[in-house]
Amino acid sequence: MTGIVQDLTGRTSDFEAMEQAVSRLLAREVTPDRLAQAESGQTAVEIWTALEASGLALALLDENLGGLGLEASAAFELLRLTAAHSVPVAIGETMIATALWGQPLDGQVTLISDFDRVPYGRQARFGVMQNGRDEIALIEMPQTMGPDRNLANEPRDAFKSDPAGHVIETRKPTLGKTMDVMACGALLRSVQMCGAMHTVLRLSIEHAKIRHQFGRPIGRFQAVQHMLADLASEVAAADAITGLAVRNWNREGFIFTAGLAKARVGEAAGHVAAIGHQILAANGFTQDHPLNRSTRRLWSWRDDFGNEAIWQQQIGRAICAEGGGGIWDQVLTANSGAQE
């Protein structure tokens, strides 16, 4: 199977075509049966194989290092799609770990930040971990890990022994030293939450149009209209700030903007999940309906790589250190991204 992403980067940067191809792949491969199997603890082999073949894992790696060298905005937009489809594999972690490590790696690769809750720990072959300020380590994932899962039944496994004992190699990150693993993970989850929130928005709008009560679509009721407006507004804010962080990929402002994104998007995720469930009411509260696949991910992903409180605290400290007179310039710097 030739890589979809690979195929299309050969042509003009025809992003729309790439996006459509990935969408078709996801619609075809991420079936309800396979999702159910993944939630029962099985590795989603077919889904992983299809994604790996598409070349998506290489999207962020430089071309001269064996990757596809996509713009960060394009790569993360494709990643957002995978999250909108609730893919139960570590595609995002692999994409980022590959870029950090600087070479293609075999199989699923995870990002290690919390040793007790490693995403897809028991499925991944390798993991990338921060090893001091300027260094990252490639870990050979152990045969056994303490299995655990999040609310979306995605593996979040614990190391049974010190990961330091499993280091294959250490190196300086291929990307700049601002690309700290935790911040990368924060950005990853922000992008993924945006994807899941878009699915919640789409499902909510559809439901408001087709669900009839009291002789009319519930979307005609002002209460429901206002809830939809609130939902869409949160999604818009989340998209905007995540886009800002993506634009700072591999630039000096990365950690700060990734933290801003994670803080704001995590907060949006809670609102969106709640509003989505309120609009879809009893229908959305069952396994018969797809809403829960997205909302359980929103509840879980906001806890990974630092929850809102952790990043808010970091941002707040940085802001206060410069005093009231410094707030505006710090905001400008955050928004300007790669302006200079």
Binding site: I205, H226, R264, E267, Q312
Partner: protein, 381 residues
């Protein structure tokens, strides 16, 4: 694809340069103690400040040079506006004129209206009021009852406008009047006029607001004459025009920066090493603010050019007013009362001012509920 896209935009060079010029101007203003940052905002009326800002070329940033504007990008305008607001500058006298009245006249005014009025607005010496609301007409603008009757050479206006900020010190008002009988089409039969506030037949009664501030007014029109060339657009086109003016009103950084100075005061009060809880509260507010600014900047570039821009402006105003209203509620719980000093307590003064302005943030320029309806309609289309 995102439902509402707020694409990242680069600020063009003229915006970066405009920021520098605005900061230079404001630096002098602050050094010379010409205004008090923590007590002012875009609603604070200061005619002499406006004159100085006009002289410095900071009013009409994106308006044509032919009329005395600086002919820069809409993003440059957004930049000047946000620097003003962030610094607490008292822009109230010229704010409405610059933000909406002048663009409206530029788009729909007669040659004479443009030639005579616009240069004065951009010199900071001509102020406008907004004539939309009436005692029985708030969110439902199509219920406008104030009448315009066709006479020789112009129109005769009768009726009452209310909540008219600064009508008592404005030179002109752009007013919406009913120029034809109500029919099946509720939006038909309305016309916008540029009304000279010195005209015979106009009487203005000040309405003190909840803090006793002198901003609101009731304006009574009794046989007020308006010449034909002070009609905006065509008679009967008023609904389209007022929609356009509201888009300008909803478009700027004032939708999320109204009480920025309170955040400045709060951070100063917390000091450089806040405890964990305080740091989190600040971090949360700033993340919200950065997202808002990102969205606001994004649509500054496209005001009026994209069909979706009105809905996106509504989204930013919804989120922005929520931020503005949360800020005093969060801030007040984080600061310990300070012993009163002879110099006063800046934080508390600022907080009290904001507390009595905050309810208006989700009312003026379109209530929160109306804006949510606009957003929802777009989603369900």
């Amino acid at each position: 694809m995102p439902r509402f896209e707020f694409a990242p935009v680069r600020l063009p060079p003229d915006a970066l340069e405009a920021r520098i010029r605005t900061r230079e101007f404001l630096k002098v203003e602050i050094t010379e103690n010409r205004f008090v940052p923590h007590l002012n905002s875009w609603s604070s009326f200061d005619a002499s400040f406006s004159a100085r800002a006009g002289a410095a070329g900071l009013i009409g940033t994106s308006m044509p040079r032919a009329f005395g504007g600086q002919g820069l990008s809409s993003q440059a305008r957004h930049t000047v506006a946000e620097e003003m607001l962030a610094s607490g500058a008292p822009c109230g006298a010229h704010w409405v004129a610059e933000r909406q009245s002048a663009p409206q006249i530029l788009k729909y005014g007669s040659a004479r209206a443009k030639a005579e009025i616009l240069p004065k607005v951009f010199s900071g010496s001509c102020f406008f009021a907004i004539g939309m609301s009436e005692p029985d007409t708030g969110s439902d603008l199509s219920a406008t009852r104030s009448k315009a009757t066709r006479i020789d050479g112009g129109w005769r206006l009768n009726g009452t406008k209310v909540w008219t900020s600064n009508a008592h010190r404005a030179h002109f008002m752009i007013g919406l009047f009913r120029s034809a009988e109500v029919t099946q089409d509720r939006h038909a039969g309305l016309t916008q006029f540029i009304v000279d506030m010195t005209s015979a037949g106009i009487s203005v009664r000040e309405i003190p607001d909840i803090a006793g501030r002198s901003e609101f007014n009731e304006v009574h029109f009794e046989d007020v004459f308006v010449p034909d060339d002070m009609v905006l657009g065509e008679p009967g086109q008023g609904w389209t025009l007022v929609t356009s003016e509201l888009a300008y009103e909803r478009s700027g950084p004032d939708r999320f920066l109204s009480d920025f100075q309170l955040l400045v005061q709060l951070v100063d009060r917390l000091g450089v090493k806040p405890d964990a809880g305080d740091a989190r509260a600040i971090g949360r507010l700033v993340a919200d603010l950065v997202a808002l600014r990102q969205m606001s900047n994004s649509i500054a570039a496209e005001i009026g050019t994209s069909p979706e821009s009105g809905v996106k402006a509504a989204v930013v105003k919804l989120l922005g007013s929520r931020f503005e209203q949360e800020l005093p509620e969060v801030a007040r719980l984080m600061v310990q009362p300070q012993a009163k000093t002879p110099d006063g307590d800046q934080f508390t003064e600022c907080l009290e001012e904001i507390m009595t302005r905050a309810p208006s943030y989700s009312i003026r320029g379109g209530t929160r509920e109306i804006l949510k309806g606009i957003v929802a309609k777009s989603l369900l289309a």
